[in-house]
């Protein structure tokens, strides 16, 4: 994105009459008129809310009328074991969803690279989960993972494997939720890997092959480095998803059993919608936004550094 930001604008439309500096300010009014509608909604629902939630988080004393300014909400937040659990879970969830989805996505992209009729059909199967709501995926998996009668146990029983309480066992629940997310998002990332692979020159791979490089070596030394820009886009998107998509938690596990599947945004939702503790919810929002901004910035920087741009 930074590269396109820097790319300059072509010369002004009309001939160069008048002071350049003045002309630039003359453009300011029409630009503002064009930007005003977007800016209006951005201020109202993006910028102002950030300021507002910081304010909300600093307002202490929700029962008596006289609120004071202080860090009380943050003290309560960091002392709350439910919050620390949600933060830890979110870390596990982020790693547990991103790493396997990217590996699967890349494997699918490599395997389905050639656009044969069969491959196109198989690609469709992998992309389909992207098109359905996460709550619909949750509804399907609530049956697939049902202990005993559910589809997974039904077919596992044929191999003599017993009943597993996939969503009810605190040791398995987060893993099950992770599996749902991996199933849902892999197809999306695969599309980007497919697009990225199209940019890897076949001659380069062929030349390496002639030089005796095996498939693994070609992947490591040519394909993966050339997919740098793809990773630089997909990883931040996957991180954003890990922090902002909790629909399946809300409908399927309610954060349970015993907080095993509670994530940061679910914790915020719980404080706001169930406990009406807006001070705590606001403080948790500020922490989440800070984490999101920091993590995106870092991942973007790191990946950008390892990226090779053409021209």
């Amino acid at each position: 994105m930074t590269t396109s930001l820097i790319m300059g604008q072509p010369a002004p439309l009309s001939s160069a009459r008048g002071e350049p500096r003045r002309r630039r300010w003359d453009r300011w009014l029409p630009a503002m008129v064009l930007l005003a509608p977007s800016l209006f909604f951005l201020v109202l629902f993006t910028y102002w809310p950030v300021a507002r939630v910081v304010g909300q988080s600093l307002l202490v004393g929700r029962f008596s009328g006289d609120n004071t300014i202080g860090l009380g909400n943050y003290q309560r937040l960091f002392a709350d074991p439910h919050f620390t659990r949600a933060a830890w879970n979110n870390l596990v969830y982020a790693l547990g969803t991103i790493v396997p989805s990217l590996i699967f996505a890349l494997a699918f992209a490599l395997g389905l690279r050639e656009a044969t009729r069969l491959n196109t059909l198989l690609r469709t199967l992998v992309v389909m989960p992207l098109l359905i709501p996460l709550v619909a995926a949750a509804a399907l998996f609530s049956f697939l993972l049902l202990p005993g009668d559910g589809l997974v146990d039904f077919y596992l029983a044929r191999f003599g494997l017993g009943m597993v309480n996939w969503l009810g066992d605190p040791d398995l629940a987060l893993g099950s939720v992770i599996a749902i997310t991996v199933w849902k998002n892999t197809g999306y990332y695969m599309l980007f890997f497919l697009a990225g692979l199209a940019g890897v020159p076949q001659e380069l791979l062929d030349a390496a092959k002639i030089d005796g490089a095996g498939p693994w070596r070609r992947l490591r030394s040519i394909t993966l480095p050339m997919l740098g820009p793809t990773f630089a886009f997909v990883v931040p998107v996957a991180l954003l998803n890990a922090l902002t998509q909790v629909d399946h938690i809300v409908t399927l596990t309610l954060g349970g059993p015993s907080d095993a599947t509670s994530l940061l945004l679910y914790y915020i939702y719980q404080q706001a919608a169930q406990n009406y503790d807006f001070g705590l919810a606001a403080a948790a929002t500020v922490v989440s936004v800070a984490v999101l901004l920091a993590v995106s910035l870092i991942s973007f920087r790191l990946l950008e550094r390892g990226t090779h741009y053409e021209s």
């Binding site: 509608p37 996460l134 619909a136 509804a139 399907l140 697939l144 009668d149 809300v250 706001a272």
Partner: protein, 272 residues
Amino acid sequence: MRADGRLLSLLAVSAAALLWAVPFAWMAVASLRPGIPADIASLTPAGPFGLGNFVEAWKSGSFPLWYLNTLIMCGGILLVQLVTISMAGYAFARLRFPGRDLLFSAFLLQLLLIPPLLIVPNLATLVSLHLYDTLLGIMAPYFASAFGVFLMRQTFRAIPRDYEEAAMLDGASIAALIRHVLLPLARPGLVAFAIVSLTAHWNEFLWPLMAVSSPKNQVLTVGLASFASGAEAGSAWGIVAAGTFLVAAPLLILFLIFQRRFVSSFVLSGIK
């Protein structure tokens, strides 16, 4: 030897892709099996089959209302977005003004600060604007779209400036310029954006859940959640499958018909 390897990898990737489709296969099969069969998990049951679950689901949920609300929400968001992103995209692509790059970066912040994350302050804003529990309240935070502005900026940049200058020289009015030159040329960008926006909002859950309280304002995803938990309590899995199918079908069908369009739009959403 080499051919064997290729065959093996084809088999592996086919098996994996088929495994990926199992939840859909179950949804389709189970939705067509009336009653509460003991082997409801089976992907290859003997029958009987019928449309009873769909009738039941349609009756016990408020599907017509949910479809209508979802259409109004998605359509409303998209209509306003198309106006705001075209205007802003044009400004960033064509006009040179002080602070432009800084402002553009500020726009892009919205890619991260999405409404579900800002539930707490945005709910307070909706209440003070008297928009809580209205469809307009669900829509409003999406009326500006950083992604759309970015996409339209790229689109307008790709249109040669000469076209506009020629039209201006011919004495075309601004309105004519927009209608006959800019919009037709910007159409691919607008279509791509429309597909991404429609998919995102059709599937969204948490924000519509929070922004609305009365059943008459519920959208499909929110309706499905309450509907499914009711049917699950009665172990009516066939009805759950049918209800899920009803919610997912419109986009899935559109996707299967316009697959190329969808895929290229999604990929465009990751343009750098």
